[in-house]
Symmetry: none
Subunit: 205 residues, 4 copies
DNA sequence: TATGAATGAGCTTTCATTCAT
DNA sequence: TATGAATGAAAGCTCATTCAT
């Protein structure tokens, strides 16, 4: 039932998706949908929560549990962990395009009950990235180099880049998750490394 | 009239915005709206086009025409041009939050007539970035280092990062356009420079 | 189970009362309600019948069986009997406000299957009053003074007055059943006595 | 449009009446009904107000303005005024059975927004009767004979009797307004006169 | 006997859209 | 040119009612 809802919301959008359509796609009657999930709003929230949890779990699993070809382990170096997380992220979004659409496009578009749900997930991912940056900075003895807002901004940029690449990979035939991850790693890790070595770009020169 | 529509669409979303509200905000009667712009769909398309054109124009102006403190000139170095473009981008999105919401959130959320409009704008900006990367690569005698898809991917990542930062800057009090641009330049230009020096990150090592 | 139904119907009204609510209040499952009473309509009818019977029985008991402080006996004078009946009526309606609401407000409001049930009860009470009037008239040697329709009209007026007073007594704190009965007796019995003495009011004079 | 609503509400009841049916009976489309009267609740309230105002106006006109065969005048004796009012009341309810059903049956049945509207009307009529009783008592030099609550109770009884007779007259073929009024006057005025002469009925004797 | 699970039908309300003027 | 007035179509939600067990 949630599957049908995610698919419908992902393709039509929150407002355009009708409960009739969702029920029909789920192969049940409309009142049943209302019996289990009380309202359209609750149903949408449930979709968001489920997809967000699944995505975060996929990333966490890849980073922490060390399974799979691209997985890292708890003690792996920061770049390895980032690579593992990004690969898992791109893989998951590629395999669940409707879920990704719900999170990335629909939920953020439709005001407060929903945006907050996604923001929580985003913060979780951003915190993961932030942690990695801090770890890498520590390794490079640059702990003082970044202020809080610097790190926030970097994390936002990275997550945004990842989201954009995920969309691009979903839409462009032939682009694999590893390729997207590779692109982002090349771009981001080199940039981060440079920053940690103290390199900055400034307009004055 | 378009102003009213952009404001309403930006704040309420495409579906939730009612023609009644738009007409009232514009101070005209509803049939007049239908006289000038034939349907809600056409009206939304017109909004997207106008806002996209304005944003692209702002970026173009800053890069090409050399006016303003952060402007570059036609012959300026690539990093200078990128800086000028980003600053203009963040400034414009900060000054036109509803227009930006229409482009970034609403248009992409509501399926095919609209997504294509935004994709066109995105491609235009991506092409601009692509050109800069190619130019920089040429300067660094690294023309062969990037394939077409590499460049596309980088551009997507950069544009996505910029969009995400624009959203973040709009939502976070006290973040200025120059600060956002600075964050992205530090991150991106260093990364790009590294790439052009041949540095790559690869999972195997 | 009928208790729950009467309470719900009395408080919510026939249409607004849901079978769900009734079943829950009765502490049974909905299909069980349908097993015993076939439909909402039948359930409502059963409620009406039970409450009507209870009310009539209370009045009858007070009038005929001679128990209680205000009770009369079979051979008691007409005024005494009327007093006994009215007191019992007001007492019963005060003690069963939901049942009274079902009879007085809900049943008459919802068309034909139900109105007839209440009309039957009303006729029974009216017949009782009619009998008393006839008896009193006989005592006063005025048998011919009233036509059938006169008596019907008087009975309607009396019952209506009683219903209105019952409502008023239920809503106004501090008004007891005996006080309501007293008011009505003062008003009605004096009026009736006058009528039986041949006094009439006519517009022409 | 209100006509259609009154008719539908009067015959079907508030809940059972559908906006579809009202609109169809009015010969307009449903959205138009919502344009003029904002919701079903508002529509019902408007019906109640209109019918209550019409009924009160009819009574007032007959009592105060001295027109028509049964009309009284401002200075007429209390019984004359009461007669005029009752005749007008029964005439009006007979001529507007649906309006009367809305007021008497439907509005009082459906909880608080509506019951209050009708209670206001009822109070107005009761106040009129109360005034007449007081006036008559004054004429009979019996000012001290009634307490406030006595008078309230009598007025309630009288109004209730009138309402009940109106219903009876509407339902029983061949009963005219004057006949109903006559019945009530015979009954009530004689009773009131008796009360004013100090006659009381008491259970103790 | 008793119920968890399910639904067809219907309700109120809203909105994009169009005439007649 | 501009609009007041009107509507067809659809959406979210509820409820009396029924199987399968």
């Amino acid at each position: 039932m949630l599957d049908a809802a995610v698919r419908t919301f992902g393709q039509r959008g929150y407002r355009a998706a009708s409960m009739d359509e969702i029920a029909e796609l789920a192969g049940v009657s409309k009142p049943l949908v209302y019996l289990y999930l009380n309202s359209k709003e609750d149903l949408f929230t449930a979709c968001i929560r489920r997809e967000a949890a699944a995505l975060v779990a996929a990333v966490r699993a890849a980073v922490g549990e060390g399974a799979g070809e691209d997985a890292a382990g708890p003690g792996a170096p920061a770049d390895r962990q980032l690579w593992a997380g990004l690969t898992a992220f791109f893989t998951h979004t590629a395999e669940h395009p409707d879920g990704w659409a719900v999170l990335h496009q629909q939920a953020r578009t439709h005001g407060e009950p929903f945006a907050a749900e996604v923001a929580a997930m985003r913060d979780e991912l951003a915190a993961f990235v932030t942690g990695l940056i801090a770890e890498a900075a520590r390794d490079a003895h640059q702990a003082a180099a970044f202020g809080d807002r610097d790190v926030s901004g970097l994390a936002q940029a990275l997550v945004g880049a990842a989201e954009s690449l995920a969309q691009w990979a979903n839409e462009t035939p032939g682009v694999t998750a590893r390729e997207a991850a590779s692109t982002l790693m090349n771009f981001a890790w080199t940039g981060l490394s440079g920053l940690m070595d103290g390199r900055r770009w400034s307009p004055t020169r």
